[in-house]
């Protein structure tokens, strides 16, 4: 094998000490290594792609049956303070932040003045005097530069707002149907009242954390923002709480999110895609569409009404896995799109993919083809998610 091309944005670490020294380490680095984590470079951070006890597929399937812990401390956690924090946040993202109920949040997008997606992010409106924002690690430098530039302008125009990177906190994701049962053992608050996209300050085994019911796997789960100096302690408590709790890495994280139909920034969305092409107009709240008061609103609404161009779709591909940049062809063999993410799906046993196709091909059931290296295989456009999601949504 000349080289094994690793398909997610991760590269294997060689054993050279120099490579490891170049990478940023989370609070769990030593813990990962002690547990046999296979460390790779992800967005400049040393993170585990897998652990020796479970294969990629086993770890993936376990997350949908038990509980998996993912180290997501590389992600950017921000607090936005000040009287005008909601107005400021709305000047950056497409969400109806003003309309968020206390201690709830949503997936949103930071957009450019041309409507392109700078990053996807999760925003929460806390009752603790700040908005909580979590952004992708791969976009951290870009997002910070963008937000700080806008902050300067906002302050100059008299807005009372400030932004800080949340100091001294790491982030872990605890995902899977057994999460609530396991976590409840360390928490006095009634977790059955913490619904999907709700957030709360909670003592977890005596450690003061922010617990948010959200995640990137399609399963019920939480993300726990935990003091960095107590992160190992928290993970050890979770692992000790039940045999159902397993560590999981970036490999399973990617196949899980793809089954859930969730975008990976850089693959499925980037600054050349607006929410229209990205099939993410649901993140642009009705009030914001009408007011056209988010960056790039005019262009986004123009494209939304024009119904042209390409759209992000889900595909099932026969025989071979589809991978980023593989051409999508129509039945006449003409190129009509491109794959942006793809993987075998452990749960369905099929090869699933996300990609962009010309708008004429987006109906469910449309027959297409995907070029896999030198061969061409049949594909079908399907609705996402590929595996039903299990979010703990409040029944009203």
């Amino acid at each position: 094998m000349l080289t094994a091309r690793f398909l997610a944005p991760a590269r294997s670490l060689t054993r050279s000490l120099a490579s490891i020294a170049d990478l940023k380490k989370t609070a769990l680095f030593d813990y990962h290594v002690e547990n046999g984590g296979k460390m790779v470079d992800f967005a400049g951070w040393a993170l585990p792609v897998s652990y020796p006890d479970l294969s990629h597929v086993q770890s993936h399937l376990h997350t949908r049956k038990g509980v998996s812990i993912f180290d997501v401390s590389h992600m950017l956690q921000l607090h936005i303070h000040g009287e005008d924090r909601v107005k400021f946040m709305e000047s950056l993202i497409v969400a109806d932040v003003a309309g968020l109920a206390d201690n709830t949040g949503t997936l949103s997008l930071l957009t450019t003045d041309q409507g392109g997606i700078i990053d996807d992010c999760i925003v929460h409106r806390t009752t603790n005097g700040y908005l909580n924002l979590v952004c992708n690690a791969g976009c951290a430098d870009k997002d910070l530069a963008h937000i700080m530039a806008r902050l300067e302008a906002a302050k100059s125009s008299g807005l009372d707002v400030d932004v800080e990177i949340k100091p001294n906190h790491s982030l872990i994701a605890v995902q899977g149907p057994k999460m609530e049962g396991v976590l409840q053992g360390g928490v006095r608050d009634d977790l059955s009242k913490l619904f999907f996209n709700h957030t709360a300050l909670v003592d977890v085994w005596g450690i003061p954390c922010r617990v948010t019911r959200c995640g990137y796997t399609g399963e019920d789960g939480v993300e726990i923002s935990v003091p960095t100096d107590r992160t190992v302690e928290l993970v050890e408590k979770l692992m000790a709480a039940s045999d159902d709790v397993k560590l999981a890495g970036l490999g399973a994280r990617d196949s899980l999110r793809l089954e859930a139909g969730l975008c990976l920034y850089g693959n499925d969305i980037d600054e050349t895609t607006t929410p229209v092409e990205g099939t993410l107009m649901w993140t642009v709240a009705k009030r914001r569409r009408a007011a056209r008061d988010f960056p790039g609103a005019d262009e986004v609404m123009r494209r939304f009404k024009a119904k042209e161009g390409r759209r992000r779709v889900g595909l099932i591909v026969e025989k071979a896995p589809a991978r980023p940049h593989y051409p999508i062809l129509n039945l006449d063999g003409e190129v009509v799109g491109e794959v942006t993410s793809g993987s075998p799906s452990p749960c369905t046993g099929q090869n699933i993919a996300m990609g962009y196709v010309d708008i004429g091909y987006i109906k469910n059931g449309t027959s297409l083809q995907v070029q896999v290296r030198k061969k061409v295989f049949p594909a079908t456009k399907v609705a996402m998610p590929f595996v039903p999601t299990q979010y703990y949504v409040e029944k009203k």
Binding site: M1, L2, T3, A4, R5, F6, L7, A8, V49, S50, S55, H56, V57, G251, D254, S255, K319, A320, P321, R323, S343, P344, P346, N351, V372, R373, K375
Partner: protein, 146 residues
């Protein structure tokens, strides 16, 4: 290291009655392919080390029969959930057979990379190229140094 080699040799000899592989004719490349030569015909596959690095294998690209390749040409690719490994031909040859079982059971490469998980059989066009390859001992030593 010596113990490991001995135990592997024992397992190989046990299997010899059932398979056509003979340990002495196995040659290895630095890019983790093997060719098992008998007469002018060689069976080609990826090593156990390579399958372990790839993880659960889900798809193997098989070459066309009668296709001719030079040494080092990509003759196949082996794909896991997370990675695609290109398989370079250890020696020049013409494809005479492919392991069709891998179409339905690609993870045979995981289970038996250096035996039942063979990828294709070639008719060697230049047997002198075997001199550039490693034997098992040299390959094992190469793995230790990597």
């Amino acid at each position: 290291m010596a113990l490991r080699l001995v135990s592997r040799a024992c397992i190989r000899q046990f299997n010899t009655a059932l398979s056509t592989t003979r340990p002495l004719s196995m040659y290895y490349t630095k890019s983790h392919e093997w060719v098992n030569v008998s007469g002018g015909v060689g069976r080609v596959g990826i090593t156990d080390h390579a399958q372990a690095a790839l993880g659960d294998i889900v798809y193997v690209d098989l070459p066309d029969v009668d296709a001719e390749f030079d040494v080092g040409d990509e003759v196949s690719s082996v794909e896991s959930v997370k990675a695609v490994g290109d398989v370079a031909l250890p020696v020049s040859g013409i494809v005479k057979a492919v392991n069709d079982t891998l179409s339905d059971t690609p993870n045979l490469v995981n289970q038996s990379a250096e035996d039942g998980g063979w990828i294709c059989e070639i008719e060697l066009t230049d047997t002198s190229e075997l001199d550039d390859l490693m034997d098992k001992a040299a390959y094992d030593e190469f793995l230790e140094s990597e």
